[in-house]
């Protein structure tokens, strides 16, 4: 962490910018392929998300009448930067060199930004479908964010640290938190699905109801960057859950060779994020869309209560079992 060259490499090449974009596009392909196979379709070739991205970058950018152009241009890069930054604090091959006490809170904050941005985009679009979509996006944010935060903070309570890398370290010495907090794990997965606005939580962009919601007036590179943001959020979110509940890239013992250690850690990271993606894709293929008032009821009645119960259980465990 002392060498500035290493830090730059970490941010821009691996596992930062270059790797992150490539992996996000690959996960997006896998997501589409898994859903397609479940729906008895062929599905896209592996380079399809990349081709889509390039194609959209080259398309004309259309400004709707009366829209604040500068703000419209600025929002997609800002949220893209936010979710990419969030990824840097999540352990990929070992601890993140940028880790600091409390980075979990910052990651959660950065991950919440895209939804706020969607609301802004919807509001700015001067289009009724976008406006409804934006309002739905922010309504949904209030529903899932509380249980999602609670579920992700329970590992922090148990490990006694607000740093993701510290929580991973705690799991290396003890046990994967998914075994101690299965309810929290499930709530976190549901929250992530809702955060990414995937079925059954694709209420803000419900195609058959409000065209594309806040996305309706996005064109060209703005649309490309927003899509990339969602795809990177998928990577960041699943990596975060893998780190907090599935022990991240760590195994209980270490090899003497640092390269071997790194390789094992990286493989574990890939395996765990892919497993989480598989679950998320299955949920997407197996459900229809809720209505916003129905989600409100389900979210506050069951999901939030489940998260609270999990917090209670963790407090009791912590009280009875003095963690090493």
């Amino acid at each position: 962490m002392t060498d500035p060259v290493f830090t730059l490499l970490y941010i821009f090449i691996f596992p930062g910018f270059v790797f992150l974009v490539a992996y996000a596009l690959f996960l997006s392909f896998l997501d589409r392929k898994i859903a397609a196979r479940m729906q008895q379709r062929v599905g896209p070739p592996f380079y399809q998300p990349f081709a889509d991205f390039i194609k959209m970058l080259g398309k004309e950018v259309i400004d709707p009448d009366g829209v604040d152009r500068r703000l419209f241009d600025a929002i997609p890069p800002v949220v893209l930067a936010a979710v990419m930054t969030a990824f840097l604090y999540i352990p990929v091959i070992g601890y993140s060199p940028l880790a600091f006490p409390g980075d979990l809170v910052m990651v959660l904050y950065l991950l919440a930004l895209p939804t706020i941005a969607l609301f802004l985009l919807g509001w700015l679009s001067r289009n009724i479908f976008s406006a409804i979509g934006g309002i739905r996006a922010v309504t949904q944010l209030f529903i899932y964010e509380v249980p999602f935060f609670l579920a992700l903070l329970t590992p922090a309570i148990m490990a006694g640290s607000w740093s993701i890398s510290e929580i991973v370290l705690w799991q290396q010495h003890n046990l994967w938190l998914v075994f101690l907090q299965p309810i929290g794990f499930i709530v976190a997965l549901i929250g992530l699905q809702a955060k990414l606005e995937r079925t059954p939580f694709d209420i803000p962009e419900a195609e058959t109801e409000i065209i594309a919601g806040p996305w309706t007036e996005l064109t060209g590179r703005r649309l490309a960057l927003m899509h990339l943001t969602t795809e990177i959020s998928l990577v960041t979110g699943s990596a975060l859950i893998a780190a907090l509940f599935l022990g991240g890239p760590m195994i209980p013992w270490t090899f003497s060779d640092p390269w071997l250690n790194g390789a094992v850690g990286f493989s574990l990271f890939l395996a765990k994020t892919l497993a989480i993606l598989l679950i998320l894709s299955s949920i997407k293929a197996a459900t229809g869309r809720f209505r916003i008032d129905q989600l409100n009821e389900i979210g506050w009645k069951y999901i939030a209560s489940a998260a609270l119960v999990q917090v209670g259980i963790v407090l009791v465990i912590n009280y009875l079992w003095v963690t090493p």
């Binding site: 729906q39 379709r41 406006a131 694709d202 109801e209 209505r291 916003i292 129905q294």
Partner: protein
């Protein structure tokens, strides 16, 4: 929150065909619905008056891309009745087989569309996959997947060979198994249940008052089916049941359609197994005597009526087509009041609207045409944000 006008259509992802709804909503609740139908007037009725009966049949098949056989059969049936012809039993059975296969592919299509409206794309893909099996059967029998062209005045165009009958029978078990799977799915899939149950409810009295037809009416407990109450083709000889439901909501309409899917497989099976021998056509006179008739037919979407008037020539003097969708629109406008905005696509889709088939007239009013922003101009975006007088010409 003040009343907001949400324009839906004529271009909208939920709509496969052009129609314009102006939904007046108060917050998330719908206050009123204004409908603008008929974007696709094709002048079919007038064209039908210009052709002789033989050439009218292919024309009327093109009224609808899904219930093509329904329109041709309704017309042929009417003309045969005016001519006083009795078509051979084999022809009646073949028409029935095609009609029920058509009902199956129409209902499978509908189930997929309804699932798609709530974002449940897996069911959509699955039903459309199974619809292929039905369309393959139709293609084997008639040579075509959409416009079968099986009808002629006095019978059917081509016979079914033993091999075609065997092939069709061999496809049925797979379809029956899939339909059973869909019955299970509709009764147990949670997101589907909470989006369909209690949505767009219509009581029996309302269904009668607003003149709903077909599965929409039967889901509200109206026990009426032209196939049973005014039997035509082979329906009087085939054992089958009219499917009704008492729920009256979108879920009830789904159950009725899935039940009808099952009944259709049984009708097709019975007809294929008991196909009578004999000719498939009788000789017909060129001209029809002077007369008029209302030919009724239970299309997949409900009761279809063709009013036909002949004047002793080989052409019709007037043919008037009332599609089931037209009869069901009033019930949609009624069902939508006090519902959630998010439920518009589901409720509209629940009558299985076939919009372009419904277009029977168009009004051209050049004098009163609004000069700036007409009812079709999507101006509500501006209205929402309080911009006035800036609409483009």
């Amino acid at each position: 929150m003040p009343e907001v006008v949400i324009p839906i259509g004529p271009q909208h992802p939920a709509l496969k065909e052009p129609v314009n709804f102006r939904v007046i909503a108060d917050g998330e609740k719908i206050v009123r619905l204004e409908l603008d139908l008929s974007y696709n007037h094709r002048g079919i009725e007038k064209a039908a008056e210009q052709r002789n009966f033989i050439r009218v049949l292919p024309l009327l098949e093109r009224v609808c891309g899904i219930c093509s056989h329904s329109h041709a059969t309704a017309f042929a049936k009417g003309i045969e009745e005016i001519m006083g012809l009795e078509i051979p039993p084999r022809a009646r059975y073949i028409r029935t087989i095609i009609a029920e296969l058509e009902r199956m592919h129409s209902h499978l299509l509908w189930l997929g569309v309804a699932a798609h409206e709530i974002g449940f794309n897996t069911l959509f893909m699955w039903t459309w996959r199974d619809r292929e099996a039905v369309q393959d059967t139709l293609e084997e029998m008639s040579g075509n997947r959409v416009h079968y062209g099986m009808n002629e005045i006095g019978g059917v165009r081509c016979d079914l060979t033993a091999a075609q009958v065997t092939a069709a029978l061999s496809r049925l078990p797979v379809l029956e198994e899939r339909i059973k799977q869909y019955i299970d799915m509709v009764n147990s899939q949670e997101t589907l249940l909470i989006r369909f149950r209690g949505i767009g409810r219509m009581s029996r009295e309302e269904a009668l008052k607003y003149g709903a037809v077909g599965p929409t009416a039967r889901a509200s407990g109206v026990d009426y089916d032209v196939r049973r109450d005014d039997p035509y083709l082979a329906y009087a000889e085939v054992p089958w049941n009219v499917v009704t439901d008492t729920l009256g909501d979108v879920y009830g309409r789904t159950r009725v359609r899935i039940g009808e899917l099952w009944e259709s497989t049984q009708i097709v099976r019975y007809c294929l197994e008991n196909l009578p021998e004999g000719p498939i056509r009788v000789d017909t006179p060129k001209n029809a005597p002077k007369g008029e008739i209302l030919s009724r037919y239970e299309a997949p979407r409900g009761e279809l009526a063709h009013y036909i008037r002949t004047n002793g020539t080989d052409r019709v003097e007037r043919v008037d087509i009332r599609t089931p969708t037209l009869a069901n629109w009033t019930s949609v406008a009624m069902c939508l009041v006090n519902q959630n905005i998010a439920d518009i696509p589901v409720i509209v889709a629940a009558i299985d609207p076939c919009l372009s088939c419904t277009s029977r007239l168009t009004v051209v009013n050049r004098r009163d045409r609004p000069r700036v922003a007409g009812p079709h101009t999507p101006l509500s975006g501006n209205r929402l944000f309080g911009r006035k007088g800036e609409d483009s010409p």
